[in-house]
Structures are given as C-alpha cells and as structure tokens.
Amino acid sequence: MKLSTVAKGVESSLFFNGPSTGYNFGYLNEEIKREIRRKILKAVAIPGYQVPYSSPEIPIARGWGTGGLQITLSIIGPEDRLKVIDQGCDDSVNAVNLKRFISMMTGCEVTTETTMATLIQTRHRVPDTPLKQGQILVFQVPIPEPLREVEPKVELCRRMHAEGDYGLMWVRLYEETVRWGRVTVGARYPVLVHGRYVMDPSPIPRWDIPKLNRNEALLLFGAGREKRLYAVPPHTSVEPLEFEDVPFTVEDQRGKACELCGSRDSFLDEIPREDGLGSRWCCSDTDFCSRKRLEVSRAKGRALILKKDARI
C-alpha cells in the first residue's frame, strides 16, 4: 500500500520538473553541462589527450553519436548555425535525427552549407570545403583509444599515453608494412598531435587526415559510450604515423571524378552500378558537391543541376 503512495508522490514532483515545463535549453541540465564544459577546456589545453568525463545518457542510443551530441549540447547557443553530417551527407537519416533533436532543444538555425555553419557535428568525415577560423567541428567517435587494437585494457593504454610509450603501436605498423608492403589501415588512421599524444581521429578516411593538420577550426571529439573527449585546437600539428621509407598516402582516386559535379579533389563514394558492370563515383560531401554543381552550371550558363538531381 505504502509503495503506491510513494510512487505517486515521486511522480508528481518529477513531472513538475520534467516535460510539462519543458526541458532545459540543450536538454542537459546545467550541472552536466558545466562538467562537460570544464572537461572540454582541459581537452583543448592538452591537444590529443583523452579526458575522462561522466557522459550522461541522452535520448539517442550509445554508439549513435552521443559523445558528439553531449559536446554540441554543452557548447551550443541560440545564435549558432548548426550543420550535422553523417558520412559527409546532410540528409542521412541519423544526421537528420540528431539535427532534429538539437534544434528541438535549442531552437537554433540549421544549415547544410559548410561555409555558413558555426558549429558542425560530423560522423566519419571532415568537410571537403575548407573550414574557417571561428568554426567548431565536433566529431562523433566510436573508439577514442588509438592503442585499443594493440592493447585492449584501458588502464594499460592510459599508462602508455602517460609515458609517451608508443612502441607497441609502431611495432604493429611495422608488421603491417612487412606483411603487406604498406600500412593497411583505411579509416581511423592513427595520428600524432602536437608531437606528444597519439590520437584516434575517428573513422574518417585517410583523405581527411591531412586536413586535421593546422586546421583553422577548433576540432572537438566526443566518445560517449567510452566516456572520453579530446580536442585539437586550431593551427595545431597533426601528423599521421608513418615510416620514412613508407610514407603515408591518401586514397588513390586517380582517374575518377564525381559523376554529378566532376570534382576530382573531394572524397568520392563508390556506388556499384545497377547493371553490375563496374562502379559510379560521386562526392561523399553532399554540400561540397551541390556547391560545385552550382559553380559549374553558372560557368556553363545552363541549368545542369536539375537534370542531375532527378537522376539520384
């Protein structure tokens, strides 16, 4: 009997603070935001170092961008213009869903244009349009620990970072070059930040690795499930781990161009042809592609875009 009275009391007080009066700006309560904000500052001060944080649950599943989302929600203001991309694409279902949640909780303006955004949350890509000073790029990170594959234990990895002992990592890369003649890591290529910490750049393609180096924008990384966040301030050195005789290279896209905009200097997605004969290629960065098409059509003075759009 008593049990039910308690439940009722609890319920009314929770409802009072909960949905009926609206959530706090940015969904997270101010206490949680303060903690994340403090941790982000430390992350910025120690580039590439993984700062542990509490990582509260939010209404998006773990592994679906919670780390990036917690960072975004902790720093965003009503004046921000937000862009969210998944694999370079603004219209991917999960990007749309995250954007919907953030704008629902902040009322801030959303955009697909890289140049217009003040805050960009991304999964697995760095936009192909160069970022500008003042912009913030927030990465969703599945596995923040670059050493995880050589040492699964969190505590041992922590010690290796503390001592700057990356021997095991170099051994792994060396073994790869012996076995395959190259380092075969595709996405998530390990990088050295400010000459001190080896960092996981999140599963971006190699194509994006050189863009991290001395970028104009502030790069923030959030791994919600693993409860770690880290950062690369603007103009900070980010170098891929490489051997002198086996230099780092980006994806080989020679002879390929986006079939929509003709670009050769953006990362291209491969799409197998319906007829099974080879592949088509098009930009992974949908905003870059549509801007490029606009430029091309302006140059040619005809409306090429509409036709192409109809074909997607």
Binding site: R38, I46, G107, G134, A231
Partner: protein, 201 residues
C-alpha cells in the same frame, strides 16, 4: 519544448568566449558582462564572477592567490557552495595579477596519468590587459605561426613570472586573464609566451 533563461544564456556565451580564447592564445575577446552586479558577492569583480558562475560548482574546489584572490575565493565559496581548498589542491584559483613565480609554482599541475587535473587560474588585471608597456609573443597550439599582443605593465610582469616556471608537459595549469572591461585572454599550459619588448627600467 525547452526553456532558456537569462542566466543560462549568459553562462553559455561566457563559456564560448572562454573556449575561443583558450583555443587561440594571444587573441583577446570580450565577455558579455551583466549590467547589475549581484550584491551578495560584491567584492568579486564581475568578469571573474561570471567565469565562476560558468565553470564552478560543488563538484570542484576553489582557492585564492594574492590577498585579493583569497578574499574572492572565500566569497565565491560562501556564495556558490564551492568547496575551499589549499592552493596546492584547488581546481580553480582566483588571483590578482601580482602573483609571483614562486606562488604560481604551487598550483596543481596534474600528473602524467591525469594531466587534466592541473588547475585553472583566473587572474584579474585591474589596470587592463591592453596597454603600451610592451609586446608579448605567443606560440604553440592554437597560434598560427607567431602572434603578438600589446599589453599593460601588469600583464607583462605576470607573463615574465609565468615564464620562469618550468613544468613537464603535459603537466601544468591554464590561465585566463580578465580585466574590468571584460576583455579576456586565454593561456593554456602548452602556450609559449615571449616578452618581446620589455618595459625599460
């Protein structure tokens, strides 16, 4: 769906300014200061108070450096339920600009395993950050090449005191310098500051 109060908006803006200056050492930005002051914390200069409201709560500790700094820390601790701690233990330290190198040396610097435990220092520069006393050169993460800034005598002195310290990176502390007008300068631990044109005499 959501509510946004003045308070929440003000600390959010303050935070973005702090984030901006810490990721771009040598760059000044200005805080959006509230017009009226809270009367319960009269002695704390309003830029410091705003920064404290933005980052401090019962989960962190505060301490003071220099006479005024200690006074502010006590007042913040009372007014905001932040635990007071010894200088060597405190997460946040409030300080006047006159702190010496030996005093700065006692700040918490974290460990190799947990460098993020290094302190955050809030320095109040009564006479202003900008000035004609000399030129500071900034380098390190966040700085494109090298950046210089004309500063007041007090800031010049403070920078030369900081310059005497030698912490093993990644250990160290972060500093934010504030002045009456709300100007703020961020100095992360990895930032190298060179006194380019010291004051004569």
């Amino acid at each position: 769906m959501f509510t946004l109060t003045e308070e929440v908006l003000r600390v959010q803006r303050c935070y973005r300014t702090l984030l901006h200056v810490l990721s771009r050492p040598g760059t000044l930005a200005r805080l959006d200061l509230p017009i009226e002051r809270k009367n319960r914390l009269v002695s704390v200069p309003s830029p410091l108070l705003l920064a404290c409201e933005c980052l401090l709560d019962e989960k962190v500790t505060v301490s003071g450096l220099t006479e005024r700094g200690r006074l502010w820390a006590e007042e913040i601790s009372r007014g905001m339920r932040v635990k007071l701690a010894e200088l060597e233990e405190a997460d946040f330290v409030l300080s006047g600009v006159e702190a010496s190198a030996s005093e700065l040396l006692s700040l918490k610097r974290g460990s190799l395993l947990a460098p993020e435990e290094g302190a955050t220092l809030f320095v109040y520069v009564e006479e202003g950050i900008k000035g004609d006393a000399g030129l500071l050169g900034f380098a390190g993460p966040g700085v494109k090449g090298r950046l210089s800034l004309r500063v007041s005598a007090a800031v010049l002195d403070w920078a030369s005191q900081r310059g005497k310290l030698c912490f093993e990176y990644p250990m160290g502390f972060e500093a934010f310098l504030f002045d009456r007008e709300g100007n703020v300068l961020g100095i992360p631990r990895a930032c190298e500051i060179e006194v380019l044109k010291p004051r004569r005499g």
